[in-house]
Amino acid sequence: MHRTHLSAIRLLSAALVAGSLSPLNAQAPALDRIECTSFAPNGSAKLTAYGKGFKNILYLWTPVGRIPYQQTGDKPSETEASFEGTLPDKAVPGIYEVRVVADGGISAPHFLVADDLPFFTPTDKCEADPPTTILPVACCLDGHIDPLKPKRFGLSLQQDQQVNIDVFARRLDSRLDPVLRLLTADGRELAFADDTPGLSGDAQLSFTAPTAGTYTLELRDVQYSGGGTHYFHLRVGGFSLIQGSYPRRTSIADNVACVGPDSETIDAAVSPIGTSLSGAAVTNSGLGSGFAMVAVAPGRPALEQEPNNDRESATPVATDLPAVAGRFQTDGDIDWFRLSGRQQQHLCVTAYTRNVGSPADVVLELQDASGKKLQESDDSAGHDAQLSVVLPADGHYFLSVRELSGQGGGSWTYDLDLEWAGRTEVTTTVDTVAVPAGGTATIPVSVNRLGSSNPVELTVEGLPDGIVSVPVVVSDKQKTAFVALQSTAAAPTAFHHQLHVSARHLHSDRKTPVLFSPPAPAKNAPVYELPRLRTGIFAHAAAAAEYSLLPDVALVTVEPGGEAKITITATRTGDWNQPITLSSAVPAAELPTGITISAPEMPKTTAEVVLKADGKAVPGRYSISLQGTLKKDKTTIVRPVPTITLEIRTADEKKATEKKATDE
């Protein structure tokens, strides 16, 4: 995605949020961390959330069900909330996105490990040296690290007993950059782990006790920082250590290879956790599971076939294949693929590595049959690497994939999307949306096209009763669009609902999810994006807005050279009586060709908007997004108008349609 474009839409949506949604979502709980005393697949879930703004907490949302809120103490705490319940049978070990749902809104997501190891609850802070808390050899625990206070646990091991230790922190969006150390009772270090490849900065180690005795397991931040945001999930036991899957993006129910520390692999089936995230677990009976997280993709990618280190031995890729995956088996490994393309075909190759947990940094290069380099890509804004090439002739093309620094190993994987007719990527920065009673809320989306000019239609799935959304057609010129959610009289006064917005590519009828594109990460924020590769957007009810706007028609039809008038009616609350300026929500340059909008100021309750189509207007169906702006003192409130569908039809088309309607 082009950065400037992305920035523009972020600014726009920030303005919208600041102007309209923020007050409606002011009561959303803010989460620091959640610590589990149990969060077991097919078992109990007992958790405590820490943060602020905890008021009227309802439940903890998880992709597999709700965990009810349990009030502890005489009155609810504003900084702490407990939840207790069970995880359903279908739950599998893995990383789960969870959110605290309150009357006033929904928290930002937090990530937890659902673990089939027994949860351990220490009775002290585990900071003593030597440690006073002895961990069972098969257990897991949640916690956080305070500044300058390493956690220390005792581990009683028999001679030659092996124990595997895995700490999740960066993979859970924690600020903790974890370091593991195993020490003898007299402080001599026997094992150390930091930045295990494939774990996005997390650490894991395997240790065999040289003698029977109690060892100290130390867990700390690499630079001794800490606090509530430095949380972790620690696993200790005989489970398999997994450093990622191969491939890292595939379809549910597929099998992936789970990669271990020495590049050994164990096959495991992919089970769904959320709509965009799944897990592949390797379960050792009685020892707990090792697992890898897998991004959900529409189909299984084709895997590279070694040897393919040169053009002559390139792995052939079938025409129009949507995805391939590979890995750099050894240092210096280069993978070649042979593609067949047609002249003027717009080939886009998009790499996924670091954002799905691979340590690799890929460089893509496309050559024609003669060996001439057509394009090379290292970093592409928003992606690890991306090629976008109009193929100059029918024939074979060769794609090379190499690791920028020449490193390799079992977990050094890559996944490539291959798109043969250009690429249209639709994303949103909105994670939650508050729908005001009787009003409208919008989800801004950003459309990034690479060689594709075809329109897409945005639709919302999973709407709660009483909330309606008109499909939005995004024309070839549009880079921004707004999906409106309109609350009708049938809408319940309270709801919390996960929606999914999909983009249907009208030329191919292919449907892709609108991905959440997180805002630019804050300083020192983790980058492991796999858990955040989500498509769900949370909508919840909010009180009536300062004002709401409604058009008198949902569909208008004009002929080239003609015009249509739409009356917008405002419903105001309180003393929000100031004039409202109506305008197009998208820039004028992105309006359909030949269309202009004339929107007057609305002094009181109604105003008439005129849509004009000049002779250049292209027949077809479009969506018009209008908005109103009200200024009162230093406050500016921007509210959307529900989507208006615009049909541009020639006179003949209009006549034929009217006749058809009459006939029917």
């Binding site: 930045d195 630079q223 670091r354 954002n355 940094d361 620094s405």
Partner: protein, 809 residues
């Protein structure tokens, strides 16, 4: 071992204890060179005459001998220099004390005019006269409107300047002696640089003749000077033998050998031992060794001159020899008539070894156990135990962290932790040092996932990388060659930018990880030599340029060369650095400044250490163990009459003040009050700091480096008044000594007697029990004080302020 012992003992018996050269008869004479050819009328040959060349009474007779040419129609001799007269052959005889030696001379082409060669003669003359040195016209902006390239490194520019600048007003081709170029340095005309020339001397003549001949550039095919050789290469002169004439022979590309002595510049490595005149006469100034460096443009050669004086009462007492280190050191000491000190005491050894290996003081338990140990191998057992301890890795990784500029300004706060940890593992696992260097130099990827890549984060460009790498792993300070050929060394700009070419293609980019940087190799980018404009190939010192295939990492080619067993720099540099750390002084000192003019004080010893290092697969632990198990390491720091003035031959232990971190940790140990450092957990020791803490006055005052330079010199070892103030009444010492959580209060609370507490203090601070007199003094002070606690704190303060505590000895 016994054999060497016996050998040294035999030598003592066989050699005379003293010999006065003045009284020694001339038993033999030798002329050098014994055979030579003079071509053209301008040629000449300096002769050096040596009396008793094979005997201990050897002396230079060049000035004293009488010379005679057997055919003065062929050649004549004046002041020991042979000049041609006519074509032919003859013999030159030198006579002294009734002994005669002769040299054979061939004279050719006397009638043929041989023009002065600009590149090899004029520039050499200007250099010899000092015209183009850095302080004069060789400075970047020149002097008095006249600029020459520094020591003639840019002949084209100099020729242009001399011939064409200001309409050639500096020279008068018709009357060469009227040229400003001659009149100014003769001080006939005022000259800011003073008198630099004498009329009719070789330097003057070269310049005058060149002007007279039309200031011509040399013709194509003119022989090029390939190397020079300074004769004699080494000489040991005893007692009254107080001078040595040197001769410089130039070897040219046409195979000819010519005397270039008059145009050669000379320097002495130690003016307190030997001075050298412009005419190549070395004179005794004191006792010891000096290296004379001869520089002829960018060619260099050295001669090792030793002046000895028999010492009254000196009687070589062969020490027990433990290993080869001892053989080589004691051989040198024997030669120089230096008597090594005795072995140090057990408590001194334990304290010294523990500080050297771990940076900390021995614990009371360690001290007690060691002092009670009566086994013969107790010292080597301590060395092994400490080398195997993590404390060794903690301390020695600090040394590397200093040199590799492990500071958060360069590496970020996360980076310093990860890099320091990696260094800790390197030391702990005894990673072969050549692999260590190779990993650093070829590191790539994320600096967080591969901390070695921080080498390239600290070095931001090829210039920095060139200078850092050369100093760290070649032991060469090559910085000068960035702007001009090295004035005192053989390194040229081509060498400098050739190394830079190996490092130019290092790419850096941010990653999504906080504070991370990704290091990779770019496939494009070249280095241009700024003077010649030439695109540089990767250059390996003393080997030349190499072609590196386009798909290969140029750094790897350099690193392969650097870390090969055959590399002439790496192992020497590393071995010397380790020796320097353990012994307090390098065999080459400074440890990262190898150059012809700064030779090793004991070359054989350095060679031995290099062999040991290579044979042990570059094991630092092995080398340290080898050094520390030697008797040399375990010598006392107390000197005797015959090693009083020795500072460089390791005849006694080198006393040195504890480093800033060692000292602060030691004070914390003695007082029992740990220091608190921002961002580090309680109990962190100063040697474990990953980053020099901001504003820590104590550490700064005692010389903790800020890690901005890849140079050992950044750690200051100078004493200063601030240090004294810190120790006497600074807050660190004061607060810790007086702390109620400290050892004194703790021991008092535990009911210990004054004597017990004093004993504990000495054991903790000095690794020994107090002497009875020390007990008495302390007890007397306590008895005289009103407050027992304060009095005991005073005793602790006094111990901390004692030299025995502050110094490693």
């Amino acid at each position: 071992m016994r054999y060497i012992h016996a050998l040294l003992t035999c030598c003592v018996v066989a050699l005379p204890s003293s010999a006065a050269v003045a009284d020694a008869a001339v038993e033999a004479l030798k002329i050098s060179p014994a055979e030579f050819t003079l071509v053209s009328a301008r040629s000449y040959q300096q002769l050096a005459v040596t009396a008793n060349p094979e005997a201990r009474t050897i002396f230079d007779a060049s000035a004293a001998a009488e010379f005679q040419s057997l055919n003065e129609k062929v050649a004549v001799v004046r002041d020991g220099i042979v000049y041609p007269v006519g074509d032919g052959q003859t013999e030159i005889r030198a006579t002294l004390g009734g002994r005669t030696a002769s040299a054979h001379v061939t004279v050719r082409e006397v009638a043929k005019h041989e023009p002065v060669v600009f590149g090899t003669e004029v520039l050499a003359a200007l250099t010899k006269a000092g015209c183009n040195m850095g302080a004069c016209h060789g400075s970047p902006s020149g002097k008095g409107g006249f600029r020459l390239s520094l020591r003639g490194y840019d002949p084209e520019l100099d020729l242009l300047t001399l011939r064409g600048e200001f309409f050639n007003r500096r020279s008068n081709l018709l009357k060469p002696e009227e040229s400003l170029l001659l009149r100014k340095p003769l001080m006939v005309v005022a000259h800011g640089g003073g008198q630099r020339l004498q009329p009719n001397q070789p330097v003057y003549n070269v310049l005058k003749n060149w002007i007279a001949e039309g200031m011509r550039a040399e013709q194509e095919g003119t022989p090029v000077l390939e190397r020079i050789k300074l004769l004699p290469e080494a000489r040991v002169l005893r007692n009254d033998a107080d001078r040595q004439q040197l001769v410089v022979q130039g070897y040219f590309s046409d195979g000819s050998v010519r005397d270039v002595t008059p145009l050669t510049a000379f320097d002495s490595s130690d003016e307190a031992v030997a001075s050298v005149s412009a005419s190549a006469m070395v004179r005794r100034e004191g006792r010891g060794e000096a290296t004379i460096l001869a520089r002829y443009l960018d060619r260099m050669s050295t001669s090792q001159i030793t002046f000895l004086t028999d010492r009254e009462g000196y009687d070589w007492q062969p020490p027990e020899i433990a290993e080869s280190v001892d053989q080589l050191v004691f051989k040198k000491l024997y030669q120089l008539q230096i008597q090594p000190s005795d072995l140090c005491s057990d408590s001194d050894f334990l304290r010294r070894a523990t500080l050297d290996l771990t940076g900390r003081l021995p614990t009371v338990e360690e001290t007690t156990a060691f002092l009670e140990d009566t086994t013969e191998s107790r010292r080597s057992a301590v060395i092994d135990r400490l080398l195997a301890h993590d404390d060794y890795a903690r301390f020695w990784s600090l040394k590397w962290a200093d040199l590799l500029r492990c500071n958060s300004r360069r590496l970020t706060s996360t980076g310093v932790h990860k890099f320091r940890r990696w260094l800790f593992d390197v030391v702990r696992t005894d990673m072969p040092l050549n692999r260590f260097a190779h990993e650093l130099l070829t590191a790539r990827g994320s600096t967080q996932h591969n901390p070695a890549a921080n080498y390239w984060r600290a070095s931001r460009d090829e210039i920095d990388a060139t200078e850092t790498t050369a100093q760290l792993f070649l032991g060469i300070r090559i910085q000068c060659a960035k702007c001009h050929n090295h004035p005192f060394e053989k390194w040229t700009q081509d060498d400098y930018y050739g190394i830079a070419a190996a490092f130019h293609r290092v790419g850096r980019k941010a990653t999504a990880l906080p504070q991370d940087e990704f290091i990779f190799v770019k496939d494009t980018g070249e280095v241009t030599q700024p003077r010649t404009g030439q695109t540089m190939k990767v250059r390996l010192l003393l080997q030349g340029s190499v072609d590196v295939p386009a798909d290969q990492d140029r750094r790897a080619v350099f690193a392969d060369w650097l870390t090969a067993d055959t590399n002439p720099f790496f192992a020497r540099s590393v071995a010397n650095r380790i020796w320097g750390h353990v012994m307090g002084r390098g065999i080459v000192e400074p440890v990262d400044d190898f150059r012809d003019s700064n030779p090793p004080s004991n070359p054989e010893l350095l060679n031995f250490l290099v062999q040991e290092l290579v044979a042990s697969n570059y094991s630092a632990k092995h080398l340290i163990r080898t050094i520390m198990n030697s008797r040399v390491y375990q010598l006392s720091s107390e000197r005797n009459t015959f090693n009083q003035d020795d500072e460089i031959y390791f005849s006694h232990a080198t006393t040195r003040m504890l480093t800033a971190e060692q000292l602060l940790d030691a004070i914390c140990d003695v007082t029992g009050v740990p220091e608190q450092y921002k961002g580090m957990p309680a109990g962190t020791k100063a040697i474990d700091l990953v980053d020099p803490p901001d504003g820590h006055k104590f550490l700064q005052v005692f010389g903790q480096p800020q890690r901005e330079l890849a140079c050992e010199c950044e750690r200051s070892s100078d004493s200063n008044l601030s240090q004294a103030l810190q120790l006497i009444n600074g807050p660190v010492v004061h607060n810790k000594v007086r702390s109620e959580q400290g050892n004194i209060h703790r021991w008092i609370a535990a009911g210990q007697s004054d004597r017990q507490i004093i004993s504990q203090l000495y054991l903790t601070a000095l690794s020994r029990e107090p002497a009875e007199q020390e007990f008495e003094t302390a007890l007397k002070h306590i008895a005289a004080s009103e407050n027992r606690t304060t009095a005991l704190e005073d005793v602790a303060w006094a111990v901390i302020n004692s030299k025995e505590f502050l110094f490693q000895h």
